[in-house]
Symmetry: C2
Subunit: 345 residues, 2 copies
């Protein structure tokens, strides 16, 4: 089990639930717009937000932004250690750097000392696009190279007497993401932030992130996740919740399971599943609802769902853990189901 | 490496590319409608199609359906061994049964003998909803139970002198799917068909299937896949291609990688990525295109892409494997990129 690390009021590692994070894509120095995006992210279920600090105004903006939100804010800084120090002085709850592009030990130490004084963690964030020359020479841009770079940079911080560390290795390759993080988890005890970088547009990002993060998370690797998607970051939160929900690691509201339909199907399973999903969008308790196209096999096949419906030939069945509880007309199925759920769950 | 099995003109196992399959959801006995759906699936890239044969007319329909398509047709039969035999007599290229619900050895042997005579394989398809009582009693509906049931039923066929076998274990749980198939792959040498059952509506199915199939496929487990999605099965093919493409196992046309955008981003990465995806939808050669929001880091971070664009401050860069090849006005970026790709790749 990984070490416990505190990021503002959020604790990751040590068996805590996998925390969901995202990153703003507004100008960090534009307080109004950025605060609005942070608020939208928080409302969607985001548990911490990263903001890039590419200039002094952005680093200073943390002060104002912090006063307008309850969730931890993380400063993402490249190249210039002074911006990292400035963001820390302005209240950042965590700093993400890639020590490899910050420079020599004097510069990295300045960031470490500021983080130590502010008692905030540093994420050592390595990715395929910015590997050190020695690493590239020895390993190429491989899972081994990514892991070696991450471990080297963790050891640099440890040598400076710092162990309030989160680590990440990102790649746009699913296989490298899985392989590198498995190696990393063997080598360090710090919490690991996982995600696929440059995952692309919505559906591609959903596929790549599910493909890479699910196996790691199911092996216990990964203490916080970011699902990178081009565009509005709020969708990253819904995608992250969907992944955690569907692999059974966290529970957020309703999960619909639906049979894929076949020649035996007499009802419009897809429409019914979508209608149920929409009708229960505000339902916050964890609940699995099965939508089955076949009254004969449906209840048995969906025994593990909390509640389910099966339909065909004008009739609808509602069943709870595989046991029939109601028989209704097919046309009343949706309404009766929703009412039953709201009354009984 | 798994044994090689022939399903019509498609060969799976033995290191062949992972074959994509789907299942019709029309009435199999309705030849016109079913043929049209098979044709749509084939056009989308489906390599074999499964059809349910719940009655005599459906089993007999294989004859007419086979005459109208080039891809192998698989008959899915439950409970009634006579329907399996009838589908085989009518030209099915493979039979999927769950021997556990076909009945005693006399009945299973009738199917085996018919398959042997027709020289077609049988898929032993086990799923969580139809485990034998003894298995449920001993293991519950667990990964162990699913694997034990699959192996038992494979051994039954082997004892009847039959080894032209494909095996599958399906569950609606991502974790059980992964665990059970890993165990299965250790125990048998037959090709494995993998998929998540009752995966649900489009996005959920995409997440669950990616999460369960990617780790297995990357470990070399899985010789043919079905991505179950409620609704039009053609989407199952696009989803399957997307998964295989994005984990690097097969290549179908253009893969867009796009940076997730941050405060440094000056161009609309999401729109540009979507525009490129649409403009190249007919481009069949494997090609990776990176869309980066930052002219400074973009080319370096996207070195592994075949070609990429980065933009900001009115200017656009086109780079090939990280090397700048063209600088254009941002407004000309899309058009120039597409032209460059069509001329050079």
């Amino acid at each position: 089990m990984s070490k416990t690390i505190h990021i503002g009021r959020v604790t990751i590692g040590g068996g805590n639930p996998v925390a969901i994070q995202s990153m703003t894509n507004t100008k960090t120095s534009d307080i109004t717009t950025t605060s609005a995006q942070i608020a939208a992210l928080e409302k969607a279920g985001c548990e911490m937000v990263r903001l890039s600090a590419p200039d002094e105004n952005s680093a200073r903006a943390f002060k104002a932004l912090k006063s307008k939100t309850n969730i931890p804010l993380i400063a993402d800084v490249h190249f210039d250690y002074k911006l990292a120090v400035l963001a820390i002085e302005n209240g950042a709850d965590k700093i993400r750097i890639n020590p490899g592009n910050i420079g020599d030990d004097v510069k990295v130490k300045a960031v470490v000392d500021a983080a130590k004084a502010a008692r905030i963690p540093i994420r050592v964030g390595v990715n395929g696009g910015s590997l050190e020359k020695e690493i590239l020479f020895k390993y190429g841009n491989s899972a081994e190279g990514l892991t070696a770079s991450a471990i080297n940079n963790v050891r640099r911080l440890e040598k400076m007497g710092f162990d309030d560390i989160v680590v990440s290795i990102k790649s746009s390759s699913v296989k490298k993401t899985i392989d590198a993080n498995r190696k990393l988890a063997e080598a360090v005890e710090y919490p690991i932030h996982i995600g696929v970088t440059e995952a692309g547009t919505y559906e591609n990002a959903l596929v790549k992130s599910s493909a890479a993060l699910a196996p790691l998370l199911l092996e216990g690797i990964g203490d916080t996740i970011r699902v990178s998607i081009s565009g509005d970051p709020v969708r990253e939160i819904f995608a992250a919740k969907k992944i955690l929900n569907l692999i059974g690691l966290r529970k957020f509201g309703v999960e619909i399971i639906a049979c894929p339909t076949c020649a035996r199907t007499d009802i419009d399973v897809e429409k019914l599943a979508n209608d149920i999903e929409m009708a229960l969008i505000d339902f916050e308790k964890p609940l699995t609802v099965a939508v089955m196209g076949c009254a004969v096999n449906g209840p048995g096949e969906a025994k593990e769902a909390d509640i389910g419906v099966a339909g065909g030939n004008g009739e609808g069945l509602i069943f709870v853990h595989g046991e029939k509880v109601l028989k209704v007309r097919e046309t009343d199925l949706l309404e009766t189901l929703i009412q039953y759920i709201r009354e009984n769950f």
